[in-house]
Amino acid sequence: MKYINLSTYTLIFILFGAFSAFGQKCELAIRGKILHQENNDPIEGAYIWVVESATGAVSDANGNFIVKELCQGNYNLTIQYLGHKEIRDTISLTSNNFNKTYRLEEESFELGGVEIHGHKLAVQTTTAVTALYGDDLLQARGESLGESLKRISGVTTFSTGNSISKPVIHGMHSNRIMILNNGIRLEGQQWGAEHAPEIDPFVADEITVIKGAETVRFGPEAMGGVILVNPAPLPTKKDPKTNFYFTGGSNGRMGNISISHANGSDKIKGLGYQVQASAKRAGNIQSPDYYQGNTGLSELNFSGSVGYSSQKLGIEGYYSYFNTTLGILRDSHTGNLDDLINIIENGRPFSDPGFTYDIINPKQVVSHHLAKIKSHYHLSDKWKLNFQYGFQANNRQEFDKRRGDLNTKPSLDLELFTNTLDLFLDHSLKNEWSGSFGINAIQQANSNIPGTGVTPLIPNYDMLNLGFYAIEKYSKGPLEIEGGLRFDTRTVQTARFVDSELQQADLSYNNFSAFIGGFYQISPKVTFNSNLGTAWRPPNVNELFSEGLHHGAAAVEIGDADLNSEKSLKWVNELEYDGGRTQLQLTAYANHISDYIYLNPTGDTYVSLRGTFNVYEYLQANAFFYGFDFSGSYVFTERLSGYAKGSIIRAKNTDADNYFPFIPSDRMDWGLSYQFGSLSNSKTNKFTLSNMLVAKQKREPDFDLAPAPDGYALFNISYQKQFELGKNKLNLGLQVQNLLNTSYKEYMNRFRYFTDDMGRNFLIKLNYQL
């Protein structure tokens, strides 16, 4: 019996062992990712059913799913999502490493075009991306593009007074970043420090900032980042939507209205249109102690689009018009170096003309037309051919305070025509692979319109840029890897008269750029992405050929026709945590730029009958930029929440071991919000107190006209409430900016030499949706 007992025990042991082994096998899992066939978006809420085990899962916000506690063996999977074709797949599960990507195709067009799966990113990239939309964009309505984007951490502005502001991404601006108006790269006179982007923020339903070097996808100059200004997708069925916006501001007595309307056709399926117009008027801006003379503005914009889409074909036409007249602070226009020194010593304008809406010289009058045609055609369910053509006409006139009849003539009158053509082929191959091959052509003609009575600052030129690129992405489970390569060739022909002699130049630039990036979902709450990309920027025509007096700035600027292209290598990393109550986003980056072009004071002066002028020359040096941005929010209670965001940038000329001018100083913005009303109500009813802290820029260049201004702290309050009026909605926003009417100067404002920044401003922002 003992033997039997022993053998029984042995049997039990063996059986137990077998069972435990069997038990382990049944802890296998099927992991996968659900993407949209059309646009690569992750699909949240798709249902995955394992027939044999009668268990299932639902995909998360990143499209990922996991079905646990499965044994080894073959399984039949069904994947379902409303309005999409069901996928049936038979898989063989042998190990715990199973991971597969599925792409869902839309079943029928009638269900209303592409479903919006939560918030959809405007661009598919593994780089750090932040978008401004919804309530945040509503709060920014009435501000210029640059000002609006300050709400995104890592984005600041480089401004000239309070009406001209250019966005700065990670310390880069002007021609080192790119702005896309509905997919077309905005081509204006962006080289000038006082040239604001020619775009109406009301065009946008969403503004997206890509913080990585995206030259491969978007072409040269996208070195510091890319800003995408995108309208809402066109409706594909009858669904009329009208939005009315009004913003009023006490400071400058500003008024801004915008109306947009979108609808689809009842008769022709897939046909839709959208129209939008806005107007803005403001007078002299008030600093706490005085009015800034001649700082009004007047703006009139329009845009419209019409589109048709069917299962296979999509076609869209778009037109936008931007027109602005901007007054330039009278006292900022100086005759010579003495004038400049006098006003800097004074620390504020000499004149205080009080309030007026009138705009006199110096002023800018800028108009910008943009027209585009876009089309895509599905060659098969895996291949999609895209075509986009854009035409832009930009006219910039700058008027200076001159004598007599000359006052009616612009001192600078430039006309820039740009044609852009994109042709690319997208593919979403079976499961893991997707990507794009394309060619891109940019053709540009810039002319000085005769009759200014001033020797032109930059020559007339023709430019042609051809680019060829390929991007491929691998998505599997929590991991996405992306890489791309691009080649560009550019030719520039310039012509102008120097001392009555025709001077011509032929220049050419060729460059490869490449990037590699990855995205990894560490856990359902934590994601990490990293992107390493090269970028390049050919020198601008002003950097090559400037020669002479920059009127009003009391500076003589000298270009260098032998400048090389700037080349950069940028590495961006982003860690995101979304834990319900806590949300956190950390971005760290390093950017090495060789042959960085900058304007350097020579220390010499030019003497003329008008007095003396500082002389600046364009030089190149190696530069290193690095820094980090953070933004986070925390929900304390159901009613109380808080947020904080900020950025730190370090930028150095590594050749000369000194600092570049106009690099944003360290800053942070934090605030607390309190939700009023009943908690079950989803409508906004929120009060926010926020505090902006900006440090003094201690890393100053060796030469500056004036030392960096002190740091400052501003308080702002806002109240946001949504009313429901029948089927319509009214959003009411009340804001007070610079609540304590603090006198301050911002280092990144070129007019800090002449005046304090804007004082207190009461704002009312209305949005009526019907």
Binding site: G335, N346, F350, L421, P450, N460, A495, L609, R610
Partner: protein, 197 residues
Amino acid sequence: MKLFKNSSLFAAVLFSAVLFSCKSEDPVIENDEEVITDVTLKFTELDDSGNPVGDSFEFLASDPQGVELGTPTIETVTLDKGKTYRLDVLLYNSIANEDITEEVQEESDEHQFFFLGSAFTSNILTISYDDPSGELIGLQNTLTVSSSPGATATEMRVILRHDLDKSYPGANNPNFTNFAQAGGETDLDITFPIEIN
């Protein structure tokens, strides 16, 4: 690249690029109309009753290139001690062949000359506006040389301000050193060396 196999597509691209391309205009020589290239100080001796005596004489400051090429040439002004002169300031643009004096006269409410420098601070010269219209412009002035000057070599700085507040306190004085406080910008800033005989 699959794309290039499709030659008709590529042709379409090239075609549209050619179709829509535009050329820049040929450059045009632009005359700098704003620049003042020649500033002439014209002196006419006055007798005790203010009537002109003898021939007038001129001193020139010129910069034919405008601001582009640096150092202007400035003649030394020679005056006799104890005498009173009428000083006319004449402005000319040799690039656009234009008389700027007239333009300044027409915009008398926006322009004003100031006369500074050691010649006035050490009381070698005294000056007063004497524009025929009665406005304070400084295109015509009365200038008196001290009969016992402390030095024979001195300097006079001639400044033309544009778009200033002419009613700013003190701006009625041709020797107003704080002219910057009255706002506007400088159109001319020339320092003439002066020799007193």
